[in-house]
Symmetry: C2
Subunit: 251 residues, 2 copies
DNA sequence: CTTTGTGAAGTCGTTCACAGCA
DNA sequence: TGCTGTGAACGACTTCACAAAG
């Protein structure tokens, strides 16, 4: 995901597998729900069901964090909430900036899931001067001239990019130059960043395309199920220059 | 990802690895950009760079689709665009419904990346009667009473859930009952669905939490780098009931 | 007797490195 | 000669299955 070399391929010490890290927020969510219902303990089986994974995976995941369970009993909910929160770094406050306050940027600014997990929207930044000063989610939008100053003044290390694709790389470069070391990218572009900067991307249309792939398979299931090469090209070459290649993208 | 058993674990025939499927949209995006610049051919090396992966992976991915390249030359851009589009099922039109027209739902309705890839927003649905009739992104919002009818009338098989967490499972159940077989879930809940229904989820706060995890590591890097157990708990048990466990979630 | 924690086995995915074709 | 296509080696993640602990 991250372009930069970061997640210690060497040093082999307390490395939690990436796949495990990606599931910790899931466990935390399930545990928080249990905590709110004042449930004191859970078994790996119950918690796994609530998080949508299987229990062996969950136990192995937790084993990377330490031995936090009690055999024959299960896990103490409050204690686990705390341990996972700490592991994820959520016991501290993370100021974030959102750059690009269009529909998506505004939705992100309004999104409650951030604040409730220790992420504080420190600033909203947009390139459109007409936006400047207008409050979104109660926070006044600032012009991108101020980008560097805002990041330094607030000690921001996480940036969210919600600009159009074309603006994403320049914005990214400025964020990195200003000291940002983690970026969540919603723009449909590959960002290049120096080593030491993490990038994660969320591409809404990619998810739909993956669903479409599987959906297509379902449709062609009753019919010609497994008759070798189903609708594939003539297998060998078909290297006709082009011209008859159907137009796919609606401009 | 999907809760239901779907992706043929047996039958071993033309199975494209899930990891490859997830990258096809990435390649497609890079190829589309090349196509727009009228670039006729690309090498695996160039295309890999544009898509942000390494070239060996890309070649292996393409090998699952067939032999679409020319040794010594590279890949024909237009031809590949077509092949990948077809493989993903994007040569057909996919009507989708978006349920939950809050900030996020509205942003999704306005998102250009859907329409440009064969996804057509067939309807916007919300439970709030006050929203009914109000146009969002040029499409009038319909009340959720109509949900089943809308799905049947439009032959919709893909649904997007952008409701609050509490409403997601009931909405999901209704979508499935009405014939939806693919769901993109933005609500922060685990959805349970019957076999044969695919669910993919996008959780905005999870991505930030993963970034925070790595960010935390970076901070503690210069200091006590690899001194065994860094800040971890007393290793053995610490099973005190609770009470002194720090509060983590700000209510 | 219940449920965790974990070696060992199994599965999936990535990378290497080179044979084969244009 | 240049670049694709792919077995084979490698590494990461998952699942199994059971010993150990409460």
């Amino acid at each position: 995901m991250a372009t930069g070399r970061t997640h210690r391929p060497a040093t082999r010490s307390r490395g939690i597998p990436e796949a495990t890290v990606a599931r910790l927020p899931l466990y935390l969510r399930a545990l928080t729900a249990l905590s709110e219902r004042s449930v004191p303990t859970v078994s790996s089986e119950e918690l796994a069901a609530a998080a949508g994974v299987n229990s062996a995976k969950l136990r192995k995941d937790f084993s990377y964090l330490g031995s936090y369970g009690t055999r024959g009993v299960g896990y103490d909910v409050e204690y686990l909430v705390y341990q996972i929160s700490r592991e994820l770094g959520l016991t501290q406050d993370w100021p974030v900036v959102i750059v690009g306050i269009g529909n998506l940027g505004a939705a992100l600014a309004n999104y409650g899931g951030f604040a409730s997990r220790g992420f504080r929207v420190a600033a909203l930044i947009d390139a459109d001067p007409a936006m400047a000063g207008k409050p979104v989610a109660g926070i006044p939008v600032q012009h991108s001239d101020q980008l560097e100053k805002i990041i330094e003044d607030n000690g921001v290390s996480i940036g969210v990019i919600a600009t159009p694709a074309g603006a994403a790389q320049p914005v990214c470069d400025r964020l990195v130059a200003a000291g940002i070391t983690s970026i969540l990218n919603f723009a449909p572009t590959v960002l290049s960043v120096p080593d030491g900067v993490d990038v994660r991307k969320v591409d809404l249309s990619i998810e739909l395309q993956i669903l479409a792939f599987h959906e297509q398979r379902k449709a062609g299931e009753g019919a010609a199920a497994d008759a070798g090469a189903v609708p594939l090209a003539p297998k060998a070459s078909r290297k006709g220059p082009d011209g008859d290649v159907p137009a796919v993208m609606p401009a």
